[in-house]
């Protein structure tokens, strides 16, 4: 799958009902956990730290304006147990990422909790997910 990092846009892909318990230390009240969107963009940073791993990615909106999306993942120990490392993503990586978006419409989302890790494809390679 060829990913063009400069043609990136969020695509709503429908509803997802979580089948396993979702846990983040702060809960998930700020996110729409029943909605999953797919972002296509470029990683600008990936911070492997507590309380949650956080990545930033540049994503073009429908008007072609580049927006900074902040994606929250699970804490490092849990990400590690799900097969990720601090080197799983690097600045410049072309990424297709699923996320549950913020309810307030901000360009933030959550893609990893204790029990679920949404799909990420980085430079044409799928990262572990569950």
């Amino acid at each position: 799958m060829k990913v063009n990092r400069f043609i990136a846009f969020p695509v709503a892909v429908g509803l997802l009902v979580a089948s396993s318990p979702i846990f983040a230390h702060h809960g998930t009240a700020g996110y729409d956990m029943e909605k999953t969107i797919t972002l296509n963009g470029t990683i600008t940073s990936f911070n492997w730290s507590n309380p949650h791993c956080v990545l930033h990615m540049d994503v073009k909106d429908s008007k072609g304006v580049v927006k900074d999306w902040i994606i929250e993942l699970a804490p490092p120990t849990l990400m590690s147990r799900m097969g990720w490392t601090k080197a799983s993503l690097r600045p410049g990586d072309a990424v297709i990422a699923e996320t549950h978006p913020a309810k307030n419409g901000a360009t933030t989302g959550i893609s990893g909790t204790s029990a679920a890790l949404l799909k990420f494809v980085a430079n044409d390679h799928a990262l572990p997910f569950r």
Partner: protein
């Protein structure tokens, strides 16, 4: 003659004292050996199965958090709580002591997180190490509770083996932690009874009884199941600087009204 008598008395006394000490030491060693011999094995890293934010046995998801039999004291505290889970779940103006201050979560709340714990059994003391926040506690096997224990985050724990079950009795808590992820409080009168049983090699069952007359009008008991994990425990500390940075970067953005 008098000197000889004094010396003999002194020698007899020394032998007698030495013999008593030796006897006590042997008795202690014997008791320790007996405890060790009947000690069921709880070793391993234990991880929660499923997970639930609540200890109410009839409301594991915390959708009806008002239904725990709280006293007026507890109701007032519960109403003030702004927790991360359950019917009152929120991202805004969070006053969860773990999120706001990186306070120790407290024993029963630790069992609601998706991190592991382990038991290190010695004849006189069992140590429990919790992966989340790196806290630990000791459970004495050879003494009772002090009469008026100091109030601490983890309380004063004593334990005993009842067949294949490890029973932990804890008092002496402070009242700064929540019992769960829903904001339910407890008081410094909390008397906690944990019963661990390894029902299968890979399965550990925990039954917890909360007895806290200042906070709850009835005792209640709930259970959890943990599975043996192949992953070793790793560093998962709560750093206030990291927590605040995360809240500023992610949580505030997700809760503030969107700037057009």
């Amino acid at each position: 003659m008098r000197n000889i008598k004094t010396r003999l008395t002194s020698i007899l006394l020394t032998v007698s004292v030495f013999s008593s000490v030796l006897h006590a030491q042997n008795a202690g060693k014997k008791q320790t050996a007996q405890i060790a011999a009947r000690m069921p094995d709880f070793s391993g890293f234990w991880a929660i199965v499923g997970g639930s934010p609540s200890w109410d046995p009839s409301d594991p998801r915390g959708t009806k958090p008002d239904e725990l039999p709280m006293t007026p004291w507890a109701v007032a505290r519960f109403k003030a709580a702004r927790p991360p889970f359950g019917a009152k779940a929120t991202f805004e103006a969070v006053n969860d002591p773990v999120q706001k201050y990186c306070d120790p979560p407290g024993i029963t709340r630790l069992y609601t997180y998706p991190w592991q714990f382990t038991l290190i059994q010695t004849p006189g003391v069992v140590y429990m190490l919790y992966e989340y926040t790196g806290v630990w506690r000791s459970i004495a096997l050879d003494r009772g509770h002090p009469k008026d224990p100091d109030s601490t985050w983890m309380g004063d724990s004593i334990g005993r083996y009842e067949g294949d079950t490890f029973v932990i009795d804890t008092i002496g808590f402070n009242d700064k932690t929540w019992i769960d992820q829903l904001g339910h409080p407890h008081s410094d009168a909390l008397h906690l009874i944990e019963r661990f049983r390894r029902v299968e090699h890979d399965t550990l069952e925990l039954s917890v009884t909360f007895d806290d007359p200042k906070a709850y009008t009835e005792r209640f008991t709930s259970r959890r199941v943990f599975k043996l994990s192949s992953s070793p425990m790793e560093e998962t500390l709560c750093s206030l600087s990291e927590m605040q940075a995360f809240q500023d970067e992610v949580m505030k953005t997700t809760t503030e009204p969107l700037r057009k």
